[in-house]
Amino acid sequence: MNVTDTSITPTDLGGYASEEAESENFLSYPKGIMSWLVTLDHKRIGILYLICILTAFFIGGMFALLIRTELLTPGATIVDADTYNQLFTLHGAIMIFLFIIPGIPAALGNFALPLMLGAKDVAFPRLNLMSWYLWLIGAAFTVFSLVNGGADTGWTFYTPYSTQTDGAIISITMGVFILGFSSIFTGLNFLVTIHRLRPPGMTWFKMPLFLWGIYGTAIMQVLATPVIGITMLLLIVERTLGFGIFDPALGGDPVLFQHFFWFYSHPAVYIMILPALAIMSEIFSVFSRKHIFGYKFIAFSSIVLAILSFLVWGHHMFPSGQSELANFVFSALTFSVSIPTAIKMFNWLATMYKGEIVLKTPMLYALSFMFLFGIGGLTGLFLGSLAVDIHLHDTYFVVAHFHYVMFGGTVIAFLAGLHYWWPKVFGRMYNEKLGAIGAAIIFVGFNMTFLAQFVMGSQGMPRRYYNYIDEYTIYHHISTGGSFIMAIGFFLIAGYLLHSLLKGKRAPANPWGGNTLEWHIPSPPPYYNFKEAPTVGDPYDFSELEWDDRIEGYVFRKAEGSA
């Protein structure tokens, strides 16, 4: 059977013609644990990443729960102050370097990018596998710091404290260095894949917007990450050899470290959010059953965001003593970031307008993304203002702001993407009702946790503090309560997703009615992706798709005619 876009026929085998053909799906062929550990298949590497980053998310989440529990009451609740410092450091480092940065690009992107592009694989499959192993090594270094004395600097490793503390700074910074190279190789791979492996007909403006977002992300991964590499190396030689470049006691400049650090870590924030925006562009269109509005604007706004990301790092350092001129310029540039972001938001709104909105789980997450990311983005304006930032800097307002962006934005989008591609990846449907309940619990729990933090932050509660005055107790109670609710939500999600793997209903080739190329092949995809170069059309034209009750999925109308 010719498994290309025009050939999907109604069948309960996820689009496969026969049992025999179905055994060629990438999950079951080739067999054996070793075939997974040395696999060069981008889909399998995506799954390996998925398992790893979800593990990291679990660990980071447990740390978050411990932090919130500790903050339930002023003073000591469950851990001592030193342990608390290590907890928030590792929570930050694990969530950022091990989970969010590789999350969407390396796990979902690895799976979906070549499929959406119509390619057989990424350009450098061996490099792809290597970056997964680098992730493992980097993760080992990072987590090793936990048993090696713990790091207590916060995930930012600011000097001079990080050169003086007894904590396991070297192992965690070495971990960040290695994870950086993992991220660079993933980005490099995607850039070359998008440039060189597009099949005939896949022009730049026929690419799904997910690919544009990943493309912008990859630019930042390649161009920003080496700087954190050298920064971490300098920090290591500073500690081991006494280099002195960042050490004021030796005439060095600690603010230079902050510049170096944020020159990477601000683009890194966009490395985290841009793929999330990219997923949203797919989901809003598919679940509104309507062509995406403003394709080119969304595409270019991804690139503009990637460029702007390199120009605003100084807004993390307003009170650091950098010059007033620098503060002014960084503040102005920071505001300009809202333009491409708003372009995306309004285009999605316009896409939904008069659309036929289908409230399936991915769309529920997408809607909650719009709400939460909207709050996250708008509170960023407060922090980008020079005068207001002096008051809000290093308070819980900042904590709430970046959680609304990173969690309300990226994690929610990751969950949306996970639910969106889950049937394609594993060929199984999850329980839709539980999916909706899970999304609702996360939404409620999240807002409870972090809205309270906006309030206490604006009233002066500093971030990273172990203790607080009684006036803040009520907000901490709400916040901690919300975090427990979120934990329940995540356990529910983990439960029904794992259950679907074992007992889930067989997924059709196209459960949501998407028209990007991955929905043109069976679920789960065959190991070779496409037998022939696929025919490329408009990825957001849904007019040829219609619902088929027999397979509970969408089929291509013209395909039915020809088959």
Partner: protein
Amino acid sequence: MSKKHSSDGAGHAEHPKWMQHHFDTPSQQFASSKMGMWLFLATEVLLFAGLFCAYTVYRANHMDMFVFGHQFLDVKWGAINTCVLLFSSLTAAWSVRAAQLGQKGLMIALLFITLLCGGAFMAIKYVEYSHKIHDGLLWGTKYKPAGHAAEVIHGEEAHAAGELGGAHGRVDEGHTEAEQVAGIEAAHGEGAAEAPAAGGDALATDGAQAAGAQAAAPAAQGEGVELPADVLAIDVAERSTTLPAAIGPRGLVPVAEEGHDDGHGAGHHWEGPIPDNVHIFFGIYFGMTGLHGIHVLIGMIILGWLIYRALKNDFSPEYFTPVDLGVLYWHLVDLIWIFLFPLLYLIG
């Protein structure tokens, strides 16, 4: 890439063995590999960019530190190393041409010469590093000038400390004036600048130890100190107690007079006070050249691997991508040195 069914790649039956399955044509594979390499080189440039940035920041804020520090770098060895690397880039580029033309013997010979040049570079670097280590001209906390370097540095320090020690911080006008005259006189004869100072390995910032080397002071006068004595005294007092802030107004601490390097390692000639925190310059020097040296070593490993594969007959005029990419990497290593050499050795 190639662990898949033979049936999966319809229309690609006649693959050469180097052709990877997921590419449609050899030119697509070549273009992808080359683009990947260029992107990787961009990341390498950005890795060094952090150090170049640190260099720029410190040089802009403390030019004196760089002018003073660079005189201890050996321009002769640096220039030879530059020539060695430039020559190696020629042989490397030529080896790609030889690969394109299928001249296997020539390609291997040229790659081997390139490898030898890399070895020569590292050998010279070893000589240079040995001198620095011997002279104690290292980074941060390891900066303890000794031997020849100490002559230059301690001569100055001892002179300054002599003033401080002699008058308990009060400036002895007459004494200083006499010194200045001596300095001007001595400056007439170039040989006087090389006047050896007595031993002593005190830190430049360590006033107490430097005072012990007071005996060396008269000899050091030959180097000619022309700043007003009261400014000098303030300078020393500051340095002996607290370290100045990294950036910001220096107050009364004088900026170094223009020093000049006569191009000979042995003929140091420094006018004006010793700048603070010279160890930062050596930190940057070792950071940049060290990271570059690591890249030279990696480049040499790649060259060795290319020679090994060439000997195995892996390359042909149709397929020489690894040679092309490996040589690109080598060019980058060369290029970085082309920037490092003037930035570090030729400050003036």
